[in-house]
Symmetry: C2
Subunit: 330 residues, 2 copies
């Protein structure tokens, strides 16, 4: 954190999440973030400060005898970016375990309450889509982004701990991969004036690579080749499918994981897949319980229970024939 002006040896903290992990009660410190809400009484104002490091806010108490009330009412609106300094004090008789007794603040970026679109109430996802640049300040998007970040890291950690080599397979490619999906073409030819050869075909020799190029639909070809030398590899990168189904299950752009292992038989491959999924669930429950609990409460009532039960269950394994039989019977 930046040093607060005129403060003797402020305790520099990295984030509100750090305060909740290990509260330095009684110490003077400086925090930076955005005002979530503010409420002003006669003698003091209460502001909830968020900084994106946790879904929880820091309660900041601003006494009007130290900081003029009219200044607070002019500055500290929902969305304002501020630096605040003061002392962290325990609050055993309040819902939150501690609060910051503010001694001063600096306004970095004001927010006009007449036009700032986010308010304390819960907004619909449709409304938030209209203000995409502000969505990251909502708890919904913070929960989703932090969970995705944590699980992405867990994917790397799982494979790295097991000797898999992370490889970046080409995304621009001249080849289709097993016809896995429809391809996007990548070109620098002007679409309004595509150059032609004498026989009328497209003059791809004038394109960037001198021949047709596409976005990959899979790193499998390169991944298998690399596994035949490095033993075990994985990819984790963006993949593109030009399928004309515009549904949440058919994305044009998504991130995909492709492990490839030399000398693995089917049994060992299934073991890996099951162990991998359970590892990710355990990682998420251990490190992102706050986010999962929020999403459970707000969106998916069974989310936590399903994750808990999946990580404890042995996955059923059956043959293709058995699966078809179950499907035709159902």
């Amino acid at each position: 954190m930046a040093k607060a002006p005129g403060l003797y040896a402020p305790v520099l903290r990295d984030s509100i999440a750090d305060l909740y992990r290990d509260p330095p009660i009684g110490q003077r410190l400086t925090v930076e973030g955005w005002i979530r809400t503010r409420r002003t009484t006669r003698a003091v104002s209460f502001a909830e400060l968020q900084d994106g490091s946790t879904l929880r806010a820091l309660q900041v108490v601003l006494p009007h005898d130290k900081i003029p009330r009219d200044q607070i009412e002019a500055d500290l609106h929902t969305g304002a970016g501020v630096q605040v300094w003061g002392q962290l004090v325990e609050t055993p008789d309040r819902p939150q375990p501690f609060e910051l007794a503010a001694e001063g603040y600096r306004l970095y970026g004001p927010a006009d309450p007449a036009s700032y679109p986010l308010q304390k109430k819960q907004h619909s996802l449709e409304f938030l889509r209209e203000i995409a640049y502000l969505r990251p300040r909502t708890r919904t998007f913070q929960a989703v982004f932090r969970l995705r970040s944590g699980v992405s890291f867990a994917i790397h950690q799982y494979f790295q701990e097991r000797g898999f080599v992370y490889v970046h397979t080409p995304i621009l490619t001249p080849s289709d991969c097993e016809g896995a999906g429809q391809l996007f073409q990548v070109t620098t030819l002007p679409l309004g004036a595509v150059p032609r050869r004498a026989d009328g075909t497209v003059a791809f020799e004038e394109d960037f690579f001198g021949r047709p190029a596409y976005l990959t639909v899979s790193g499998q070809l390169e991944g298998e080749m690399l596994a035949m030398g490095l033993g075990r590899i994985y990819t984790f990168g963006p993949t593109f499918r030009a399928e004309p189904s515009h549904t949440p299950r058919h994305l044009a752009e998504f991130w995909m994981i492709e492990p490839e292992m030399a000398f693995y038989d089917l049994e060992r491959t299934m073991d890996l897949a099951e162990d991998f999924l359970k590892y990710l669930i355990r990682y998420a429950l251990r490190n992102h319980y706050e986010e999962l609990a929020f999403l459970t409460e707000r969106y998916e009532p069974n989310l936590l229970a399903e994750l808990e039960s999946t990580k404890e269950s042995a996955f059923l394994r059956l043959s293709y024939t058995e699966a078809i039989e179950i499907l035709t019977r159902s």
Copy 2:
């Protein structure tokens, strides 16, 4: 590893790298990999087995009284994929610390010595480019890929440990970013028959997204927006530049890291950049010394020394004006 047939309780090992880390001397075990070289004397054959987990090979000794010499000479050529089982024994009077006293092997994939292109001698990078599918079996490519994998993981670990959120910013985009580079266009329109509107312009409403789309040249726009809610974020993903300079310094496709931090001033940003680079160097030296030593010996005599000195040096910081003065004076 797969269980060896007819072997009592083989010690299952994950890789040759594991054997070197913690050699289970005296135990019976099974390994799988590819023959790097084989040499046959009257009573025994010696094979070097590699599995991609380390630049080092496992010395395998095959006694002809247990495994017929003519079978070994027919099967075990450079490049053959095999499973070998036996006992790990110490070899205090040989260059390598231990070897596998083989009791049997299974040939997974033969390699015809008349046509298999990789041999023990050092091949030129130009030759290896012609057999790209076999390059991952060379120590040069194994060193480069494992180093890149390790440093990629270190990039994630550095930011995750410091509360940065890993975000996947869009790669398909309708927008340019600060004119950072020339764009690739992404389309599903047939280049040989681009549809036109009545006024002769391209009918982008028939393209996949209903309007022109490009490959991103930077995630900065989305990254800054996300940092204004999540506090600290980083991207690490592929980026595309359609610059017509075909040099090693102007790649059309490369992976880029973009951290974005709210409330960081210039000093703190420079601190982060310097600390980040030194962290990556320390990580590489600690976890990939084998690969760095190989690349130093084979390609860049100053590599290790430069990394060691960089991680110990304070980075010089100077203003743009000072930098220009130094350049004009030099």
